[in-house]
Symmetry: D3
Subunit: 260 residues, 6 copies
């Protein structure tokens, strides 16, 4: 019996239940048809145009991504916009699109647990768990006490970042909070959890200064690099659930941003 | 040199300029690509699924409709909704979708002028012109004085309605306002223009009573039947502008609503 | 001891408790005085001007209606508006006005139960009950399986409609949802309840198409004809509760809308 | 030929044009019928229940007041509220109600000009004129330089106040701003106009302190006492315009508030 | 060990817990530093500029007031405004500012209990208690039945008012509601509690008329005079809690408003 | 005659008129007193706590900054927040604070003109001028055609950035738009002006991808490094206007953010 988009959606939603998402978010089946039989699944952080094209070239019937294909609901679907081009490309090739965004950030074993583990944190916990079973956005964990510089090396190497931006909060690194993507707004939550260090991305000028002011080490390791480590984990879970499928991580999607 | 979607959009916008639309409306190129070469254009009142399919079966690269393909901006494009099915079908076959809605209602020679002419009104005028050149929603015109029953026969026959719903305002018919589709909210405007009779559609209970209260004959001739006469006019204008194209009115789109 | 407006209000509120109303609705004593002694009560679907006049001519001290005398709160009470004329007429003759609107729709034994019974439905249930005791807007029930045409005949005859507007959803009639007045927005609720057919009123163009799209038979039997059957039931309940009163249904209030 | 409510409304609107009113205000014909013939007009500051009763007892067909009969648009007209009782009483006796409120405050020769003149101000001007011809809320004018105590005596005597509440701003009285009713919010406007003293009503605790802080003498002479002097002026204008009418100022309406 | 601002804040919050405040209110530490050692505390109804100066001149490190130093959050702190001048003066002298406003009104033993006791009410109760332990805004209590004039004398003498404004509701005084400051909006609550008389402040024209209409004696005894009696009580509680501090009530803060 | 804060404010407002600011911005005298005599002025990008302390230590009576001391209007001024600590420190030492923010960005010769000149752009223009004399946010100008890498070197060296983040839009650098601080939202405006390259700061993940999608080189050179070059220019203008003053740029304010 054929695996369908609906079957894989059900699996994705068991990994990252929709009720765990933020109220403003858009997750689930954002393009295509539940009944489409699936033989190949392309997994990628973003559903950008070149990812859609890679899926089409490979002959995939489904893409599974972290970021949503549609964020601002569009008044038209045309090739004037990159979102329109992506949707048209998917529809033309009969490819469906599923995503798990903030629900994947929050779920146990999701984006922030993977990030914590990748960075070698121990005794990892949610900083602010809710619900039963518990879920939540940020994770915190411990490392052997070390200098900030030493920890910066670890972050850069384990995540493969081309560069880091940071503020030195004036403390050695002992307890670290992590929030993949744009989580700098959780800085006080990280401090309340007793952390001396916070790894996130998309940090703005005033947020770096807030960190300086609060005395917390704040590291911007890049949106892509803090979230992409979850893609292999997600792909592996899908492959395990559907051994008959071909599940592949996008080969050409990497961060467009570079350091100089 | 090929005719493109952009060429036809330009023509549609010269017939029904976008600035004449209501602020809440959605018009123009709602799906597809400006650069697509066009050989066949299907014209229809609505971009419903079966119209999209007819376009695909016929090999059209473009549909031109009155009602918009997208009204509420969608958070997903899936076959769970009829709008999603329509968009997916169009994209799969590389068909673009253009529409002119309230701008076509308001433009000189548009929906309401066609309706007025179809009903045999003379000395047709806008009830509330604005701009220069003038445009506006409702039209009014004169008929030879006649009983309401006599005029009802004319309406039913000229528009081909299966039935009419009406209120007898207690006056003979001499000056008639028309507003194709859901225009009953313009009743006072029709009265202010000196009309004794108003032809529109989608009239609600309290609006029939308002007409009775105000002493105006109010006739609901059906949304489809008051707007569809404009489709051949629109098709003819496109054909005249692009003699090399095949322009056809949808053969299978008719009103789903029946009288008993 | 005299029966007062307050006594009858209490009875109406026991039949249709105010907490069952929609949040936007206006019900209860909308004009007059709780202490007025009552000998004659006129019952009608609407508190329109001619109903107020009928009450005055007959010498009633109270009208009890379904629709509210005041819907949009008025900034003035003048004879420039029909609402103002009605209020002035009532006040001039010392007549009070009570109504039960969406609470009467929702209450057990109210508008939609009466409509279901009138149409001969069996095993009548609320589609979406709430509260304890349960109340809710729509009702559904079963009929012997029959063609849509056959059921249309039943609707037209039992409700006395001058005509019906409908969409053929392509299914025989077996399970029917009913919602008197403007309830087409409940179409999905009717489908969720397993109904193949939905009887309501004030249906708009796009709602007929939604029904076609969803494959449900949708019948617009008229706002007046779907709600007016409840008036004799309401009058009888009031008469039973106050045997000493004269309770009468309006003799001249009928639908102003006609079919052609 | 009979004078009608419409004739008198037109006259009131020539005295106090509706476009001079504040956006939140409600003025004009708030109850009754434009076509009612009028022989007796009762003029009063407020359309309170006892004023309506006085009008009915006297046989007036019209009341003309400063404050509006309806301010918050009512969802019902019953004797549970004083507004409802007033409207019911007027309707029962076929009495119409006209008012001019903030338009009468602002118009040349209106409430604040009368107040300025009553207090003996000279070289009276609008503090912030707008439009052409000019209108505006506050008036300012000059008095012979005097002590605040001396001016307080003048205010109390000329307006007939039972008492005054005031703050001594520490300056002699030379230039005075006036705003009948609740105009303390115009304090800075009065200062900008170079005034050392401001006469208004309904002054609150923090506003007295603001005056102290700004060094302006602030006198609360009572809402009734600052506005009621305009009633004889208004009555005289109506009488002059309609010599055949009986125009009378309410005999029993006086302020309910007393000093101890 | 030194007493700090934080210690005194904790005490104030035990007297008037912050959760008892209205949602729009601003209470607690509004200026200064929790760690500042305190030896002198100035208590006053308002944190006006001259109170801040008195604190500075006396050498206080803290003022405790009823009204908040900051109500509308300021976009700048300059000497163009009295709030700015107050804040600058406090900061310059290192003085902190604590306040308890509507929480002090509502708490057992707070503003309204002190007012009730001062007026000699017996069997004092909250009119609308909430929470556990109970708190609430208004208080009501009984007096020996007496004429309104007699009670007016009591109010004026016990509160030391320069004058009263009132409406005679036409009833002898037996059960009295009190609400210090601007509480006239609670008039119906006072009536529901069975009160014939209501003592409050900042009463407006229409509220006096409402009282007349409802038949309740309404007395405006002044914002300052109804709330200031609580200041000695608050000062005594602070002194009792911190025997080593010098606690003093402001010597120069009195009402700026006078009667004439 | 002494120079006062008011004199310097007037000068700052002639350099950067307040009407040029964004509607949400807060500029001008945000702390202190217009009448304070000034002998020393400290100029800095930000009014952070250590800058306030530097001013106090140096004996300045005024700080002039780009970013506002108060952005979110505060409900309290305490040392719990860095804004509160800054205000308290300024007030304690009698130091006033003036700022020019988006008005300094937009004014001719302001932040973005300085940035353009610093980067060596020629034929510098506003991308979207408004008003007369013209002002506007972004600037664009030309450079000798060069590779992106070559231009990156120029940016890094002339601004003294510790690092850059960028997207390669696939074009050589010929026409460059600049917007100091968080101006990535102006990307389309930069493209409309014909620019191939855009230098700004605080760029987020999706904005880098938008740039890639649009084919524009986008360079994040840091909020501090793109705005701070204007501080010497501003200081020089103040010094020129007030030769008798000591005007100094903060010696210890530098960006807290570092690259790794």
């Amino acid at each position: 019996m054929m695996t369908t988009v609906a079957d894989i959606l059900k699996c994705v939603e068991s990994i990252a239940p929709p009720y765990m998402k933020e109220s403003w978010d858009n997750v689930g089946l954002l393009c295509g048809s539940r009944n489409t039989p699936v033989t190949k699944v392309l997994v990628a952080l973003d559903p950008f145009e070149q990812v859609c094209r890679e899926a089409a070239d490979w002959g995939a019937e489904l893409i599974v991504t972290h970021h949503p294909l549609i964020f601002q609901a569009p008044k038209s679907i045309t090739d004037d916009t990159s979102v329109g081009r992506g949707i048209m490309l998917l529809c033309r090739h009969g490819i469906s699109a599923i995503n798990a965004h903030t629900n994947l950030d929050c779920t146990p074993g999701g984006v922030n647990d993977v990030l914590a583990v990748t960075l070698g944190l121990e005794h990892v916990q949610m900083t602010r768990p809710q619900g039963d079973p518990a879920y939540g956005l940020l994770r915190c964990g411990e490392v052997a006490e070390q200098s900030l510089e030493c920890f910066l090396t670890t972050v850069k190497e384990t995540l493969g970042c081309p560069g880091l931006r940071y503020v030195d909060g004036g403390k050695p690194v002992r307890k670290v909070a992590v929030g993949g993507g744009s989580c700098a707004g959780g800085m006080l939550e990280a401090m309340d959890a007793g952390c001396d260090t916070f790894v996130t991305a998309d940090v703005k000028y005033n947020q770096f200064w807030d960190a300086q002011d609060l005395g917390i080490n704040l590291i911007d390791a890049g949106h892509f690099y803090t979230e992409n480590p979850t893609m292999p984990v997600l792909a592996a879970k899908l492959q395990a659930a559907f051994p008959g499928l071909e599940v592949k991580i996008s080969e050409n999607h990497r961060d467009c941003m570079k350091f100089y």
